[in-house]
């Protein structure tokens, strides 16, 4: 194989470029605020866990994680539950306007979240959903359901129609076929779709912040409000940032094989 001169160096530089911000965040989270603002140090000289301790003990901090996880999980479950039958219908049935409907669904994703912030705020305030995890979970569906439908449609289409027919011949009713045969067959697709729903919902800030105030405030919103009278609490903010990265990293770790297969099989 032809080797590019200095390829190791280029790779190393690239990795440093990618990882440096994350390292710096982790680095900061273990420093005291004095160390952060007074000197520039490459590693914590007086390492401390006080910021993490604060987050795990102060309810106004850890409840943010719980709130975030709550609406993210809710949203993922709703999105997949709604998208699975829709994807099956788009893949298997021809009906009037099916292609237009499919495209229209997808085009929902093209509008910026800010467009929806106002109508959702007003609507949810009116019906008493405001400041609950359900508000954010349902709002995120407008982006996640189309995405999940689109991903899952590719996977369902990858399952030959004869599988359906054989299952009926072999004595399965439609619901049983759907749950016992189809869902296991496209498990990797469901994994991929769930991952994308999770990630989107986890990182989305605008809707999440607009639709909550106290009770269901997500961690990302809490993090943006840490300027206090005493100035910026850098270390605490860094620790919160590290903890925010972790769930995403965990999810990626668990679905990494599925995603590779998802890329090879269908959409994504």
């Amino acid at each position: 194989m032809h080797s590019i001169p200095g390829r190791r160096l280029i790779m190393a530089l690239f990795l440093v470029f990618l990882l440096l911000p994350i390292y710096w965040l982790v680095n900061m989270s273990f420093k005291t605020n004095v160390e952060i603002v007074s000197t520039m140090t490459l590693w914590p000289h007086t390492p401390t866990l006080q910021h993490y301790k604060r987050i795990f003990t102060d309810e106004s901090w850890y409840s943010g994680y719980i709130n975030s996880l709550e609406y993210v999980v809710l949203n993922t479950i709703i999105s997949i539950a709604v998208a699975l039958p829709a994807a099956y219908a788009f893949s298997r049935y021809r009906f009037l306007g099916d292609k237009h409907l499919f495209f229209w669904l997808l085009s929902n994703r093209m509008a910026p979240a800010a467009v929806y912030a106002l109508p959702f705020f007003n609507l949810y305030s009116a019906i008493g959903l405001f400041d609950t995890p359900w508000a954010v979970a349902l709002a995120h569906c407008i982006f996640n359901v189309p995405l999940a439908v689109w991903i899952l449609e590719g996977f369902v289409s990858g399952v030959p129609r004869e599988i359906d027919e054989t299952a009926f011949l072999d004595g399965y009713s439609f619901p049983r076929f759907f749950i016992k045969i189809l869902v296991p067959l496209i498990a990797s697709g469901i994994g991929v779709a769930a991952f994308f729903c999770f990630m989107f919902s986890w990182v989305e800030l605008l809707l999440a912040r607009t639709l909550t105030s106290v009770q269901a405030k997500p961690i990302a919103a809490i993090m943006t409000r840490t300027v206090s009278a005493a100035g910026m609490d850098w270390g605490l903010l860094a620790a919160a940032g590290v903890l925010t990265i972790i769930p995403g990293a965990l999810v990626i770790w668990f679905v990494r094989n599925y995603i590779a297969r998802g890329f090879a099989l269908g959409r994504v």
Binding site: I163, E165, T166, F168, L169, D170, G171, I181
Partner: protein
């Protein structure tokens, strides 16, 4: 196990209001005997698969009824019809083992566990799947997967019929022969009604005791392989079955004579006067026409080439503009490019608008 009656059954993918010529299956009334081995033969796109899917209930007919043992099952779903169907490409449940795949149709119908195991073992033995029983069904070869599909189709002993939709397409020729004889053996052993769709006449003629030939959405003939060969009811059957196919020549027929370009060929039966509005043709299989040296009493033909099939030789000739094939008698050598044709009158059939005309003895 059941007798299957089709009553005026027709289907159009364009809905019931589509013009009659566009129907994928034109109205057909016929009976499939309990325990029969049927082959449904015809070129691609002639409606074989549609007919099969109508019987299994995957497709709901536009018109007509389907009866199992006299009971109308047209509105019943696939699940309730008690039919097994094997598709052209392997359909397996990837998430189950081979054994679970085979047991699946039985389990769903609440068959006792001991019986399921016995039956699965029996089918697996027949199809040489025993070594794989505990393996995941995914990542097997296409051959093995198709065997699983076949096995799943055959595992139930109480089905009304087993439908095969060109099941051996993906299988090696060598294995094809074995599997086909196994299917025949199974048919004899279990007294199952089997309907086997294919476009390969060898497959159809070796598998079935009744061959149903379809053409352009119509069932044109149903009979034993010998009947199809000796007395095709439609020119398409004559042409499609046999290699080379039947010769079809436009002719004028009256009484005991057929006239081609002024040359007279004697017929065994009396056809009287046929309606002049119809297209009259005679059909004769190449096996029943011999080439000979040109002579005044014989229809003359221009020889294009000789095909040596080993056991038998066929001359490809032209009569006027029409292509024609005829047998070359052993030891015969052709002096020039022209030859005479000797017809065996007992095997010359007359067709009016492609339909066989029965003469009077």
């Amino acid at each position: 196990m059941a007798r299957i009656d089709l009553v005026d059954l027709a289907h159009s993918y364009g809905g019931n209001d589509a013009p009659p010529e566009s129907f994928a299956l034109k109205p057909v009334t016929m009976t499939w005997r309990q325990g029969g081995a049927y082959a449904l033969l015809g070129p691609s796109g002639c409606g074989k698969t549609t007919l099969l899917n109508l019987i299994s209930g995957i497709v709901t007919p536009s018109r007509g009824k389907i009866l199992f043992d006299g009971r109308d099952i047209t509105p019943l779903s696939t699940q309730k019809r008690n039919i097994a169907q094997v598709f052209q490409f392997p359909v397996i449940y990837d998430t189950m083992t081979v054994g679970e795949n085979l047991a699946f149709p039985l389990k769903n119908r609440g068959v006792a566990k001991a019986e399921v195991n016995a039956r699965v073992k029996q089918i697996a033995d027949l199809l040489d799947l025993t070594p794989y029983l505990n393996r995941k069904a995914t990542r097997l070869t296409a051959d093995a997967k198709q065997k699983i599909s076949l096995g799943r189709g055959l595992v139930r002993s109480d089905v009304a019929a087993v439908l095969f939709d060109e099941p051996l397409t993906v299988i090696d020729p060598e294995l094809k022969w074995q599997l086909r004889s196994k299917l025949k053996a199974l048919h004899r052993e279990f007294d199952l009604t089997m309907i086997y769709v294919t476009h390969d006449q060898t497959e159809a003629l070796t598998f079935a005791d009744t061959v149903v030939v379809m053409h352009d959405g119509r069932v044109v003939q149903s009979g034993t392989p010998a009947e199809l060969f000796d007395k095709p009811a439609h020119t398409f059957v004559g042409y499609f079955i046999g290699s080379p196919g039947m010769n079809i020549l436009p002719a004028e027929v009256s009484g005991h004579e057929a006239r081609i370009d002024g040359h007279v060929i004697g017929l065994r039966r009396n056809y009287g006067v046929l309606p002049s509005s119809k297209k009259i043709e005679i059909g004769v299989r190449p096996e029943f026409v011999d080439v000979a040296a040109p002579a005044s009493g014989l229809l003359s033909a221009a020889i294009e080439r000789i095909d040596d099939l080993g056991r038998i030789q066929f001359a490809r000739v032209r009569v006027g503009n029409a292509k024609f094939a005829a047998r070359v008698p052993p030891g015969f050598s052709i002096p020039g490019n022209t030859a005479g044709l000797i017809f065996n009158p007992a095997h010359v059939h007359v067709y009016a608008d492609s339909q066989l005309v029965e003469g009077v003895a």
